[in-house]
Symmetry: C2
């Protein structure tokens, strides 16, 4: 029994140290996007859906906006501002007509996700990112920081949504 207790204490200690070492956003040591130094959050592809959208125009994409646990809790409770550690992910794919689906519907109407374009993140850290509303921004392509991304344009574009803590996407029930 003593040995079991010792093992439990040892585990709790190791887990505690790991928690102390982990940054608020729970990010790993992978390659970081420039400026904000946001790293690709592990497991984001399995996060729940906040909402979906279609951006026509130059974007021409279908997108899913996902949230980590803190994001989902804040959305569902209506908590504003979002707490530190919140991460919101925007995945996007080329807006692609589906001939296969259209055949079933008997008309042109179905658009599905084609190849992935890029993945963007908003990471809340009210201290680190105080100059940009508490949000760090990042864009990744094929799992690496997107060299074409101009992250300095992110925050100015998000300012009209200041009343919702600079986040445009609203929760889709």
């Amino acid at each position: 029994m003593k040995r079991v207790i010792y093992l439990l204490v040892a585990f709790a200690t190791v887990a505690g140290v790991a928690l102390l070492k982990a940054p608020a956003s729970g990010q790993s040591d992978r390659e970081a996007a420039p400026i904000y130094e946001v790293k690709l959050p592990p497991g984001y592809r399995d996060w729940p859906v906040i909402s979906v959208a279609h951006e026509a125009g130059d974007n021409n994409d279908l997108r899913a906006v996902l949230g980590n646990d803190l994001a989902m809790k804040a959305y569902r409770k209506g908590t504003l501002p979002f707490p530190d550690g919140t991460i919101i992910a925007r995945l996007a794919w080329v807006y692609t007509a589906s001939e296969e689906n259209d055949k079933v519907f008997g008309r042109q109407q179905s658009f599905v996700a084609g190849p992935a374009t890029n993945v963007q993140f908003m990471v809340k850290d009210s201290i680190k990112y105080a100059a940009t509303g508490g949000w760090g921004f990042a864009q990744f392509k094929d799992g690496k920081p997107d060299a074409t991304a101009k992250l300095e344009t992110c925050f100015p574009c998000h300012q009209p949504a200041q009343a919702r803590d600079y986040v445009f996407t609203q929760y889709a029930p």
Copy 2:
């Protein structure tokens, strides 16, 4: 130490009995959709995204297709047919122009999720649903079986996708 072992054995036994009692699809005792008797799977709103789509025409919706653990594993490994217990959920919302987003983009281009329309499910049980390719179908509105749903039309429409186990939606990487 003996007591700890006893507790572990007791826990494993209880867990085993719980597993034996649970139906393959892990569904609860809530109200079931007619014909296939599919129940609303608890927690489906937090499942990961398989893909997204825009159905124009009469549907006029944006949709997210989500999967339970078995669905996600099968999609990612390319496992066909999907194993018993697989559940695929199709959420949909009214395709809604976003004036707020369009202002930021400086043009009409942004369409977001409006009010939810209904939620559909495909549940794999190769014995129970042998007559319809091993799939049970359901449609819910506001958490209840949708009285307007004509579930007998589901399977005939899905037959063109027979080569992919009657599932149209493909995984969006």
